[in-house]
Symmetry: D2
Subunit: 91 residues, 4 copies
Amino acid sequence: MRPGYRKDKEALLARLHRIEGQVRGVTRMVGEEAYCIDVLTQINAVKAAIDQVGLLLLEDHVKTCVVDAVKHDREEKLDELVRAVERFARA
Amino acid sequence: MRPGYRKDKEALLARLHRIEGQVRGVTRMVGEEAYCIDVLTQINAVKAAIDQVGLLLLEDHVKTCVVDAVKHDREEKLDELVRAVERFARA
Amino acid sequence: MRPGYRKDKEALLARLHRIEGQVRGVTRMVGEEAYCIDVLTQINAVKAAIDQVGLLLLEDHVKTCVVDAVKHDREEKLDELVRAVERFARA
Amino acid sequence: MRPGYRKDKEALLARLHRIEGQVRGVTRMVGEEAYCIDVLTQINAVKAAIDQVGLLLLEDHVKTCVVDAVKHDREEKLDELVRAVERFARA
């Protein structure tokens, strides 16, 4: 079975490449001994970007896999979703 | 002036390289169309790792730059710290 | 239609009463000028307790209302869930 | 010694009373079996309000107790602050 995010795969890959670049940017700043608060600002930007990717994955998952699970009476998939939301909200 | 994290620079660079690898791992999983929840689990791991880097930076900043600011009566540095903590707690 | 959390209503009310008590406890501490960090520790406990209530509501919502929405092809309910998760994860 | 938030004590008490009222509002909604998502929206409002109180406490703490600690070379107070920020950012 294809994952729920298949239709957004290219968008997700583009965002993840951008995040890789952002992390390399943070690495460079630390290497050049940039000011702590400036590094922290970039780190917050990475967290926000990662979060956006997670939310898109969750959305696609709900709209495909969860819908599919309900139609096939696979209640364990609802538990799996709730646990994933819990971990995501706390991470 | 050297940044507060100078003594932890090597540790920070090592962690950031590991995070770059983790992000590349997420990119690979999406490229291979791994299961949504498995990708999300890896994304949460990246967020937690980024968070650890942010906390170490904050700690070093408090113990050096903030101490220095207090000794030189630069109250604006305390405002800057509080704003940074606020953005970090919300990101 | 009854809300999804109906079967957990008593448990939710009990938790909410406990949270009311916790908030009154924080009010009392501030009134008595308790040490900042001790007040903050109690505030974190309130946040964690509120979060638990939110997660239980989300879980019940997914397992009843969302299941019902899928069976009746009401896709707007899935969007509503995703937006709710997004706000919850960020609050 | 008076706590750092002393000058904001009245404002903090006013906010905490408002939060008590908000939590009672959530209790009432659950008692009346309001729609899950509406309850969740109110819960997010409580979390945001609690967060604001926490940030004000942290700010006052930094600008008084931490300043005082630096002036008296009490480094353990800086560790205490960093641990408090860590717990706050994760709660």
